[in-house]
Symmetry: C2
Subunit: 204 residues, 2 copies
DNA sequence: TGTACATCAGTGAACGCGCGTTCACTGATGTAC
DNA sequence: TGTACATCAGTGAACGCGCGTTCACTGATGTAC
């Protein structure tokens, strides 16, 4: 026999009706991610997240010391998703230079698909908590960039050169993403392909 | 004989003591630019600009319909300065591909020297006024980019290709600028040079 | 040269807004006996 | 199995904040006669 809150007369506090029992922390993170994905939040407010979960604003403080801490968790989660998208793209393209380019396209497409989340991840003026959480993270996206560049480089390339090339590649995709997000360049799948595929990583 | 407000007993309204007589509009724009340059304004507020000029906030509405209009003027002014900096760099380097690279470096250095202003120029979610003012402008920066790419391209290059290459170059410098502004890449003059100079515009 | 008047660039007070955060509280839950 | 109690995740009310904008006003300026 199944027993659940609907069939039996159990007292349920209002908040429990909205987020699953006892997991407000996870519910807040989920809600925040959902709002960032929808992107209708130009900038996310703590009260708005609480509201969308169906809980009072002060309740958030049971699970996070302050707003910055909640945003930091969202940023880390977003960074992970970005890395996963890039790895998937790289593998689907079979690695190598094609795979690296595919990862670059995935970076731009992720940004366009998740504008607010992407801005949060890369966002400036990071709170201390934010910076600490992200920097301690050594993201998958970053690792993919470094290892790809190292693999594709001519053997014996100077580490400074590897670094410069990695930063150049990152700048390339990041700039394209930002300019398209900011409506300075018309967002356009074909243009993404032509900008990214046309580059030469190691001109001789 | 010199006559001025200090030596003669002329009535001077408080505001006139701060901005030169009759030119509050220009004074507001100057103040806004100065605050953007100092960059201590994470985001500029209308009240703050008025305060810094020594005038009440409502006074601004004698000269601008609303805050967005004032910011739009600041953005246009900033865009002009960016273009001037790039043209100067291009000419100092004697034009050609060297000149084009110099203009690229000038773009990044301008961003690092004027973070808040640069963000305003490129800023997302532009108000209608903002977008209209900027788009009607066909900035010098943009013209420099297009003409340089056209000049440096092999003759007969397809216009779509010209466009893609221009957007790639823009993405390059813009990405580097943003990542350095956002502290994702350590701001570093030497790195700017290596990232920009090492690229190949027209790999064969 | 002096006077009456319209203009209009400024003023201070007030509006409503949503924010992050603090506070004292309540009431459901789990534990000890 | 029942009772007393501590815990602690939630509550609503309130705080102070700075914002953009509106309002009725004032007082200096320039013009017409």
């Amino acid at each position: 026999m199944m027993i659940d809150a609907n069939s039996v007369n159990i007292k349920i506090s209002p908040a429990e009706r909205r987020y699953h029992h006892g997991d407000l922390r996870a519910a807040l993170i989920d809600a925040g991610m959902r709002m960032l994905e929808r992107g209708d939040a130009d900038q996310l407010s703590l009260r708005e997240i609480a509201r969308s979960v169906g809980v009072s604003a002060p309740a958030v403080y049971r699970h996070f010391p302050d707003k910055a801490a909640l945003l930091a968790v969202l940023a880390v989660e977003g960074l992970e998703r970005l890395g996963e998208a890039q790895v998937a793209a790289l593998e689907a393209a079979g690695g190598g230079e094609d795979g690296f380019n595919a990862a670059g396209r995935a970076y731009v497409r992720f940004a366009l698909a998740n504008p607010a989340l992407f801005r949060l991840i890369m966002g400036h003026a990071p709170s201390d908590a934010h910076a600490a959480a992200l920097s301690g993270h050594a993201s998958q996206s970053m690792r993919l960039l470094r290892t790809s560049v190292a693999e594709l480089a001519p053997p014996g390339t100077h580490p400074d050169m590897l670094h410069a090339v990695a930063m150049r590649a990152w700048s390339q995709v990041h700039g394209l993403a930002m300019l398209m997000l900011d409506n300075q360049i018309e967002p356009n799948d074909a243009l993404i392909d032509r900008v990214i595929d046309g580059r030469e990583m190691w001109p001789d």
